[in-house]
């Protein structure tokens, strides 16, 4: 085991490493002379080797690959004179911008390094080789680069007394921490439960789930929680989404503006979900995705379940954009699809930007252009640009023998019906012909008959002419309907029968697969400058040279005699998943780590090369990769390892002492806060509103542009976001706003932005507004079901809720005082009008009805009364129009009363009158009544009386209260509001509000209700003020940081 001394060595390495990444090379040259291998060669690789070393054709005869070649020089003499920069031609040419040719330049910093190196005598770290093969050799430094070194089995430092070190992950992380840092304490149970739900299934826990795990008494409750979540089918959905990012999954072809839909891509998506759910060993998953068709055996007859699975897996290699079936089947388009496919393979499975070596040797990594084309040769037999198949031609039918037999049987029946139809048709034609013929005299009649009955090709010119000059006799199937419409109708019945039969045929389904044709071995050429018009030498399939020991480059058989296909991809997949190959395992565990911690151990998961980042914890990366391989490439095992570590379980809270040492949390002294991903956000909202349809698998849910042009997911299918159709040209607004990738090639790391359009989307976007309404509906139901919750809240703390401003009733006018002496609320609301009961007339209230626009009075003792109550002291004026629309009846009388008595009176009969009342003063709580009565009898007394009441509160601005728009059903029952608010918290945040939070919400409700009253606005159509406030609370909770961030 590592003792403390090794700890300190380790520590020093850290410091050196940090030093290296923090400062450009130019600044450290003072201490050490630059060496060829470490400083100079990378510059030459970037700018010079293309023409001076990479190929046998050396420009100017100059080879820069070794220092001694540079000294001996080329056609123009010595390239460098050690110790004498001024006489060194290389430096001069670079300095003056002659080299490199074209417009790219070596930066001044790098020129300074070159100069310094020559001045110091052009030192090398070691003796140069005697011989050197063609191309740019891979140096010891390059081969020793961390990403190509074998995966080590790091020792686990011992921390016998530290209970925070739960797992080897913790030991390795703690070991790397600088003095003064330690893990934070564990997050509380609530947070841990939530975190585990988000991490493993991508959905927040409900309150019930939280309660279940909060109250769990077993000491190993946490392990049980992890197991339960790993066993959930939603686990596969969550982690498939991550993999689909890297695979570049899309439901459309892209490349051309047509962006044709990929109808069958979803089977690959489902394959990934299922594979993750069954914890298919990841090496197996890689092999199936790369070479499923080569494993599937001969394809003929019915596909077995296993064959379907294997072929579906190769959808991975069909993810790249491909315009060859939608308008551009050019060599450029084909080669672009191949290049994108290689880029996807490289970044996901090799952790390498190998695609940068398509046009020339990689400028920074030891990957030659030959390496790139050797990789291309692996895929060439299946992706052959010279024998290209557009996407549709690559689909594999899932029809079985039985399907085909059924179809054939149906076609047999169709044939019979078609024959019957033909017979019938011929008979009709014959009939019509005979009838038409009768219109001709002999001998023309016989001549026409003979001509008609002679097959067209045997007719003599005379006959042809005869028929042509008597067109009406040329009866054919096509013109039959003109003579006998009834016959045509009868024949159509046969067609209908055929269509009906054919509809019973099994629907043909397909897989989007990559299948290599048997016995197809195209030759792969290296393309000069990546240009397919300039093929150069033949390249054989092989793995990356640098990933094998010197002189042991792994090549693959051109053609495996054991297989009908070439076996190249299978061999490549086996090479890649060989436990000794360091590339794939590191790439995979790094990605999983990244998703759990928000940042990879290598921050650039698609590029472990020089342009990417270095691992912050190289030993941890190796330990995870080795452990992953040792445990059968099990992702679920890897999740357990990570989730049981203290590093993952610790709290996310910052503290000053940690901040002072490591503000960026590079050392994992706390868990970093993470914003939920786009899909989690949308899914969580659907879950809270109770709309989420948890159905697994299947064709994607369609997307479409709404009237504003925003792309939305079909709201009738509220399924998890990963099932939404991913059209490259039509990214879903909500998901894209929150950084879901728009697939060009693939997505290694999602960006994580905080921008105003996200807030606008959450505040004003239709989806969120709709969902907030649905959550509010649920809170109402829940509160009604569980009224006990109300008891938890001291109702005496309820802030004053403003009473409704309009009421609807009947009553009495005291004729002596000229005021309203009695007002009785109408007891029943039909949904559109207030009245005495479900049916009018009502036994008590008679015909009294009030609706938005007007209503109907009852008998002489039962006027219809619309009442407005002044919220504060102020001034009122009224404008309106009273109308009686029937020719029958004796009309109605309208009056306006205030506390001061009758304000005005009007009478209408089959006509209308303006009902304007000039400004008068009211006091808070004063009632204004608009009373309509029937005069003598109530027959045919429907009326309309829209009123606009302008109220100017003392010291305030005038507000118009419109009797039509303000018309409401029963007033809110605020007694349930606390329970509803509690329910909103529980549905959205999976917890009850604290007393303070509840109080704050109630105060908000009270203030907003007051604002609504004062402004006579603020509610959506068909919503009461109380409901609207609740909707607003729900919407704001879904906007809150607590909802958007995972602690």
């Amino acid at each position: 085991m590592l003792a403390s001394s090794s700890f300190s060595i380790h520590h020093q390495e850290w410091i050196i490493w940090l030093f290296f990444i923090s400062f450009p090379l130019a600044e450290i040259t003072a201490a050490e002379p630059p060496y060829f291998e470490t400083e100079i060669r990378p510059i030459l690789r970037e700018h010079c080797f293309d023409c001076h070393g990479a190929t046998a054709e050396l420009e100017g005869g100059l080879d820069l690959r070794l220092v001694r070649f540079m000294k001996s020089g080329g056609d123009s003499g010595m390239a460098i004179v050690p110790g004498d920069p001024a006489s060194s031609l290389l430096l001069e040419r670079v300095h003056e911008g002659d080299m490199p040719p074209g417009e790219s330049r070596v930066s001044p910093e790098k020129i300074a390094i070159l100069e310094e190196w020559i001045r110091q005598g052009a030192p090398t770290l070691r003796a140069e080789p005697e011989e050197i093969g063609p191309g740019i050799p891979i140096t010891e430094e390059e081969r020793n680069y961390w990403a190509y070194r074998p995966i080590t089995r790091p020792g686990i430092p011992e921390f016998s007394t530290n209970e925070r070190i739960r797992t080897p992950i913790d030991a390795l992380i703690a070991n790397a921490m600088p003095e003064g840092l330690t893990f934070s304490s564990d997050a509380d149970r609530f947070t841990l439960i939530q975190r585990a739900y988000y991490a493993l299934i991508g959905l927040p826990p409900t309150l019930e789930q939280i309660n279940k795990w909060q109250q769990h008494a077993d000491s190993n409750w946490y392990d049980q929680l992890i197991e339960e979540l790993l066993a959930s089918p939603h686990y596969g959905e969550r982690w498939a989404r991550h993999w689909l990012d890297t695979a570049g999954y899309a439901d459309s072809d892209g490349y051309t503006v047509a962006d044709r839909s990929r109808e069958w891509a979803w089977r690959y998506r489902d394959y990934v979900i299922k594979s993750f759910n069954t914890d298919k060993p990841f090496d197996q998953l890689i092999i199936e995705q790369l070479a499923g068709d080569e494993l599937a055996g001969p394809i003929g007859g019915d596909l077995t379940e296993r064959q379907i699975e294997l072929l579906t897996a190769t959808g991975f290699l069909r993810m790249a954009a491909d315009g060859t079936g939608s308008g551009d089947n050019s060599p450029e388009a084909r080669n672009k699809t191949i290049a994108d496919t290689l880029q996807i393979v490289g970044t996901t499975l090799l952790g390498s930007s190998v695609h940068c070596a398509q046009c020339h040797d990689h400028r920074y990594d030891p990957i030659s252009q030959v390496d790139y084309f050797a990789l291309r040769a692996v895929f060439e037999p299946a992706l052959d640009w010279k024998a290209w198949k557009p996407p549709a031609a690559r689909l594999i039918s899932l029809s079985t023998e039985q399907d085909r037999a059924e179809a054939a049987k149906i076609e047999e029946e169709v044939k019979q019906i078609a024959a019957d139809k033909a017979t019938k048709q011929a008979a009709f034609i014959k009939e019509v012909f005979e009838k038409e013929l009768l219109k001709y005299e002999e001998p023309l009649q016989s001549q026409l008959r003979t001509a008609y009955e002679t097959p067209a090709k045997d007719r003599d010119p005379e006959q042809t002419k005869l028929l042509a000059s008597n067109p009406s006799i040329n009866i054919s199937a096509g013109v039959l309907y003109q003579y006998r419409p009834d016959a045509a109708e009868e024949l159509k019945k046969f067609d209908a029968q055929i269509a009906e039969l054919r509809a019973k045929k099994p629907v043909e389904q397909f897989i989007m697969a990559l299948i290599e044709p048997p016995n197809h071995q195209p030759v792969t050429h290296l393309f000069h400058r990546g240009d397919f018009n300039q093929p150069k030498q033949v390249v054989v399939p092989a793995g990356l040279t640098v990933a094998a020991a010197e002189g042991e480059r792994v090549t693959f058989l051109d053609n495996d005699p054991e297989l009908p296909t070439t076996g190249r991809r299978l061999a490549f997949a086996h090479w890649l998943t060989n436990p000794e190959n360091p590339l794939a395992a590191r790439a995979i565990v790094n990605r999983i780590w990244m998703h759990h911690f928000g940042r990879g151990i290598v921050a650039t998961p698609g590029d472990f090369g020089k342009l990417g980042s270095e691992p912050t914890h190289p030993e941890l990366l190796d330990w995870l990769a080795r452990d992953f391989i040792d445990h059968g490439w099990s992702l679920k095992h890897l999740h357990r390892q990570i989730l049981t570590s203290t590093a993952w379980r610790q709290s996310s809270f910052r503290h000053p002492s940690g901040e002072a040492i490591d503000a960026d949390n590079q050392y994992y002294w706390r868990k970093s806060l993470q914003r939920v991903e786009a899909e989690i956000l949308r899914d969580s909202i659907l879950l809270a509103s109770g709309s989420l349809n948890p159905k697994l698998y299947g064709p994607p849910v369609e997307v479409a542009e709404d009237e504003t042009g925003q792309v939305r997911i079909d709201s009738k299918q509220p399924r998890r976001s990963l099932y939404a159709q991913i059209r490259r040209s039509q990214p879903v607004g909500m998901l894209q706003a929150f950084d879901a990738p728009v697939m060009k090639v693939n997505c290694d790391v999602r960006s994580n932005t905080t921008v105003a359009p996200q807030s606008l989307m959450m505040l004003n976007g239709e989806f969120v507004l709709e969902q907030a309404g649905l959550v509010a509906d649920r809170t109402t139901e829940l509160a009604a079901m569980d009224s006990q919750q109300t008891i938890q809240f001291d109702l005496s703390q309820l802030p004053m809720m403003p009473s409704p401003i309009w009421s609807y009733g009947t009553g009495e006018v005291n004729d002596k005082t000229g005021t309203v002496s009695k007002f009785v609320d109408l007891p029943h609301f039909t949904g559109s009008s207030w009245q005495g009961g479900p049916k009018a007339p009502d036994s008590v209230f008679g015909w009294v009805i009030l609706n938005a626009n007007g209503g109907h009075p009852g008998n002489r003792k039962l006027p219809a009364m619309r009442r407005w109550t002044a919220p504060t002291d102020g001034q009122v004026s009224i404008a309106g129009t009273l109308q009686h629309g029937s020719e029958n009846g004796d009309g109605v009388r309208g009056r306006v009363f205030s506390a001061g008595g009758q304000r005005d009176i009007w009478q209408v009969q089959n006509n209308s009158t303006p009902t304007n009342v000039t400004t008068f003063t009211v006091q808070a709580g004063e009632e204004i009544d608009m009373v309509v009565d029937c005069l003598e009898n109530e027959n045919s007394d429907s009326f309309t009386w829209p009123v606009q009441l302008t109220f100017t509160p003392v010291g305030g601005n005038a507000v118009v209260h419109d009797s039509v728009t303000a018309f409401r059903g029963p007033a809110d029952d605020f007694s349930e509001l606390p329970a509803q608010i509690i329910a909103a918290w529980q549905l959205i945040l999976a917890r009850s509000p604290s007393p303070d939070e509840l109080k704050m919400s109630m105060e908000f409700a009270s203030q907003q209700l007051k604002l609504m009253t004062d402004h006579s606005a603020g509610t959506a159509p068909n919503r009461t003020p109380g409901k609207q406030v609740l909707v607003n609370i729900c919407q704001m909770l879904m906007n809150s940081n607590e909802f958007l961030y995972i602690e």
Binding site: T754, A756, L763, E997, H1015, I1033
Partner: protein, 482 residues
């Protein structure tokens, strides 16, 4: 809402009207302002914010409107008179020439069918196709010696926007500018793109891509029709005080949450983004409301004519955005209307008709409002056109093929010398021969006007230190600066 106030009064404004703004968010915003950050330089970690940053030295321009003319305006028919070309019309060109459309290529010299004459005090010659531009010629610096060296559209477009010919995946000019200087406005995006109702230009969203920078440095595309910004307006029932009340409730929830998570800048940024969203609702709606402009302004920009209405509206909106502190605004056409391979006589006249008046109005308007001094206006495409005929059988149908060897653009305002021409093409207008300016020079010069040393604005991507010109040769064209 008056949102183009100087910083101090904006601070007062925020404090006065800040009731309801979450106290934390307000404090955060004010902190942003008080500590105007330094511009990014070599060795800086790339930042991930739009803090206003001081330039390296005193700037002459603080905002820019780029009127990008996709397709390659034919300089010898618009801005670069060539009497020799007219004299040799119909004769064979003796020099080497690169064609993109070989099947229709000819070497027959094609004298401009349009008449040129000098305008203004400067006497700069323009063709009859640009009568309105002729009226602002004394404010322009017309560069007649642009050179991309490549004839292809995308190659040169990416050179102009991203710094390297043909290369994808790089941040565009607006991204670099907003990365370097941050946002002056707290109410609107710093980099805005006004797109054409007909659709995106050639090369699509690459024209305003943030490349390897975070997406906050990407151009925000204003839709060509209503709604110009998605989700900008709340539904009717939430507008006004109701949403403000909702936001206050939200911010009090968030503030309480933040108190439990001190120091989480992500949470603070989210709180601030809600306030920005709220302000954007007012500010953007206000900026987009061109009914506030007088009838004479409307007619100056050509809003009263069908041909100029769209481009005029966008030019006017650009001015209104600059007034409100937007840093960089770029106007694009659908496709590439200046790509006159055939029927150049009618095709060129038609796109000139669409743009000439609005463009001139913009410069005039900026000048009369005293904004031209600090606002740089750029007009130009990615290439020009060849002096020879692209043959379609008849002279009427004749056009011109691509030419990246020499062409014209113009700049105005922001410390650029007006009333001058700079550089020359050869006697036929084929190649730039004097004072050649490349897109990298163009980038360096504009950065300079913003007070930035283009070599010092560095973004570290992977382990590479990136600059706008990708370390290609670039010079500040001092001759055209006041």
């Amino acid at each position: 809402m008056n949102s183009h106030l100087p910083v101090n009064s904006r601070r007062q404004f925020l404090q006065q009207t800040g009731m309801g703004v979450g106290a934390v968010a307000l404090q955060w915003m004010l902190n942003r302002e008080s500590a105007t950050a330094k511009p990014p330089v070599l060795k800086d970690k790339p930042h991930n914010d739009l803090l206003p940053r001081a330039p390296h030295f005193e700037p002459q321009a603080t905002a820019m409107i780029s009127l990008f003319q996709h397709g390659g305006p034919a300089h010898m028919d618009l801005t670069d008179p060539k009497p020799e070309l007219s004299k040799h019309h119909g004769m064979d060109y003796s020099g080497d020439i690169q064609f993109s459309f070989v099947n229709e290529a000819s070497k027959k010299l094609f004298g401009s069918p349009f008449h040129f004459q000098p305008y203004g005090e400067s006497g700069t010659e323009l063709s009859d196709l640009l009568p309105h531009t002729a009226g602002i010629v004394d404010d322009l610096c017309l560069i007649r010696s642009m050179h991309t060296g490549a004839n292809g559209h995308e190659v040169s477009i990416r050179y102009f926007h991203g710094g390297i010919p043909a290369v994808l995946g790089r941040p565009t000019f607006g991204s670099w500018l907003t990365y370097a200087l941050g946002s002056e406005t707290q109410d609107l995006p710093a980099f805005m793109v006004l797109s054409d109702p007909g659709g995106h230009p050639v090369d699509g969203a690459t024209n305003w891509s943030n490349g390897f920078m975070p997406s906050m440095f990407q151009g925000t595309v204003l839709r060509p029709k209503e709604p110009r910004i998605f989700n900008l307006q709340p539904p009717k029932h939430l507008s006004g005080p109701f949403q403000r009340q909702n936001l206050d409730f939200l911010q009090s929830l968030n503030q309480q949450h933040l108190e439990e998570h001190p120091g989480e800048s992500d949470l603070e940024a989210r709180i601030a983004s809600y306030e920005l969203a709220a302000r954007m609702q007012t500010a953007a709606s206000d900026a987009l409301d061109i009914s506030q402009e007088t009838a004479s302004t409307h007619s100056m920009y050509g809003l009263d004519q069908p041909e100029t209405r769209d481009y005029g509206t966008r030019c006017l909106l650009a001015r209104r955005f600059v007034e409100r502190g937007v840093r960089f605004i770029q106007l694009f056409h659908s496709g590439q209307p200046w790509d006159n391979h055939s029927n150049i006589k009618t095709g060129l006249a038609s796109i000139c008709k669409k743009t000439d008046q609005p463009v001139a109005a913009l410069v005039k308007d900026l000048k009369q409002r005293g904004m031209l001094d600090s606002t740089l206006v750029h007009w130009g495409g990615e290439i020009g056109r060849l002096p020879v005929t692209q043959d379609h059988g008849s002279p009427e149908k004749a056009g011109r093929d691509h030419n990246g060897q020499g062409f014209s653009i113009w700049l105005a305002g922001g410390g650029i010398r007006g009333g001058m021409t700079f550089g020359k093409t050869d006697e036929f207008g084929h190649r730039a021969v004097e004072n050649i300016v490349t897109p990298n020079d163009f980038q360096a010069t504009i950065m300079n006007q913003f007070g930035l040393n283009h070599e010092q604005v560095v973004y570290t991507h992977g382990n590479q230190q990136q600059v706008i010109t990708a370390n290609r040769p670039a010079r500040v064209v001092e001759e055209i600066i006041t």
